[in-house]
């Protein structure tokens, strides 16, 4: 059994939490602005307005 002290946990939460946040943010921005994703976003955006009311099957 190893002991985790309160200070260690707090320090971990305070430092790595921030890095996690920044890393996560960068990934999301990359995904949103990735050039090849543009086409599928535009499709998704407009496809819900189709008057179609049947499953594709």
């Amino acid at each position: 059994m190893f002991e985790i002290s309160h200070e260690t946990l707090v320090a971990f939460a305070k430092s790595w939490g921030l890095f996690y946040l920044m890393g996560f943010f960068l990934c999301v921005v990359a995904y949103a602005f990735w050039p090849s994703n543009r086409k599928r976003f535009d499709r998704a955006k407009t496809s819900i307005l189709d008057r179609e009311d049947k499953p594709w099957k």
């Binding site: 309160h6 946990l9 939460a13 939490g17």
Partner: protein, 250 residues
Amino acid sequence: MPELFHRKLERSAIGFVLAIIAAASVGGIVEIAPLFTIDETVEEAPDMRVYTPLELAGRNIYVREGCYACHSQMIRTLRDEVERYGPYSLAVESQFDRPMLWGSKRTGPDLARVGGKYSDFWHVAHLINPRDVVPESNMPAYAFLARTELRTSDLGQHLAAQQALGVPYTDEMIANAPRDAYGQAFPDSEAASGVTERYGEATSVSAFDGVATRLTEMDALVAYLQVLGRLTDAAFRDTAATEQAPDAED
């Protein structure tokens, strides 16, 4: 469900779910994980006792009636709160509280230190019809508590459940729970001495509802209200200076 993991589309849907969990759980983990070791930082209160069976039954009535919806039990570190209600609440004071009843709204006043502030008689009159005592009050009337017999037969089970969760009830306390509940509300009975033996001399033994013939829910609730803030005197010993409300005009 194994077929779920085969097709590419399904994999992307599951990957998406995992991303949601990754994003959402980390805040909780980072904030809450340190609280598992918080006992290292919580104040010491070696004098603190557990709730007696009668007080616990009263607390469960407080829970059952949803009193937390209008009364907080958490005095903040602000100067006006400390002057109005008493020393601010310490984490250690609710160490045995399941659930905690800190509350979020004060339609009525804070009750963290209401114990001993009023007489048993006042509490009974106030609970039966609050407007008899405080004409402006909008609190509901709890007259039915004085009419309802307290269920004591299962108090041992309640204490045992608490013991299983780590509250320091002894086996002797569990075995004597219904008897102690009775004894605490009947000062003249034989059972009364057992209560102070097991829970300490300072435990208040009294005919809380003023009627020494039957044990009612009123007895239990008043016993609980009278012990609020008095399980330990830690808050009166080592609290720091209060904080000024930032824009108080004085």
